[in-house]
């Protein structure tokens, strides 16, 4: 199925969890936040959270800024 991650459409299998997605994206999991359809998915819920087709996923991290 397809979901959108930070406005890029990707193909995932139905078993994929947030934890798996973050790992697949090769991200440093420190200081990142994940939201699905504008709802924050708390870190402790990542291992159980499964996506639905068409989900809009935001993954943000911290950068320098004033």
């Amino acid at each position: 199925m397809q979901i959108s991650v930070n406005n890029q459409t990707i193909e995932i299998n139905e078993e994929m969890t947030v934890t798996a997605l973050v790992k697949a994206q090769n991200l440093n999991t420190q200081a990142i936040a994940v939201a699905v359809n504008q709802h924050i998915i708390h870190r402790e819920n990542w291992p159980e959270y499964h996506f639905s087709s068409g989900d809009k996923v935001d993954i943000v991290t911290v950068v320098a800024g004033g």
Partner: protein
């Protein structure tokens, strides 16, 4: 000592982490600034580009984090950004900034107030970046913001305290700390803000883009200490050439 919400700081300099040439330069400059509260931004992860790890140097200095909502153009986006920031960094502290205008990055007062009201309800410690508008600062305070951050001049402009007469009113009316944000381009500007009675200043561009950022950070640190000391010592006011009444105002008392 500066107290914002339930937290006490020794330094009255809030430092921005943006625009440094490298993470190492930022780390030495932040260390030299003596700042204890540093602003950070959030960004969607783009797998194409590597991200500097800016958190490690900030954390190694033991600084408190103040994520901002830059990039948000309205209250809804800012509230979403705030929730993401809390999740990513585990802090409820937030510099709320909403600027729909891409040229001058001037803050939107209406969206900022709407977002502040909601975020305070959600338990955030909200420090809103705002115009130097005294009534807006009152409304943001009523909404429960922990401080107000009126601008001295457009962000990044290094123009100094162009809004000084309004900042004076904001400081006079303040019930929460007043942090002058944006436009402070030289240590003398920061000193002037402190002499006026501002509780703190936020500096980013002027330090980050100096030829020697660490040395400039040190200069700001000292200017802020000097300015605050002058304020607490009680500045004399300039001689205004006081007019004398032609006949004494109180002579009627002699006839009673």
């Amino acid at each position: 000592m500066l107290t914002i919400a339930d937290h006490t700081f020794h330094s009255r300099l809030l430092a921005g982490s943006g625009k440094f040439s490298s993470a190492e330069t930022m780390e030495t400059a932040l260390a030299a600034s003596g700042s204890e509260l540093v602003t950070l931004a959030l960004k969607r992860i783009n797998s194409d580009s590597a991200h500097d790890d800016i958190l490690a140097p900030v954390k190694s200095l033991g600084l408190k984090l103040l994520p901002n909502t830059s990039g948000a153009r309205n209250a809804e986006e800012a509230i979403f950004a705030a929730r993401l920031a809390k999740e990513a960094l585990g802090t409820r502290w937030l510099k709320l900034e909403i600027h729909p205008d891409p040229n001058y990055l001037l803050p939107d007062p209406i969206e900022t107030l709407v977002a502040a009201e909601q975020l305070v309800k959600e338990g955030f410690t909200v420090l809103p970046y705002c115009g130097a508008d005294p009534v807006l600062c009152q409304r943001l305070t009523d909404a429960g913001c922990a401080a107000v951050m009126p601008l001295g001049a457009p962000i990044g402009s290094n123009m100094g305290l162009k809004t000084r007469d309004f900042l004076r009113i904001i400081i006079e009316q303040a019930r929460v700390p007043v942090i002058i944000d944006a436009g402070i381009g030289a240590p003398s500007h920061a000193a002037e803000a402190m002499e006026m009675g501002a509780d703190a200043v936020l500096v980013n561009t002027a330090i980050a883009t100096a030829r020697d950022p660490a040395k400039m950070a040190q200069a700001f640190r000292e200017a802020i200490i000097c300015g605050r000391r002058a304020y607490s010592a009680g500045l004399g006011s300039a001689f205004t050439g006081q007019a004398r009444a032609t006949s004494p105002m109180t002579s009627f008392l002699d006839t009673l």
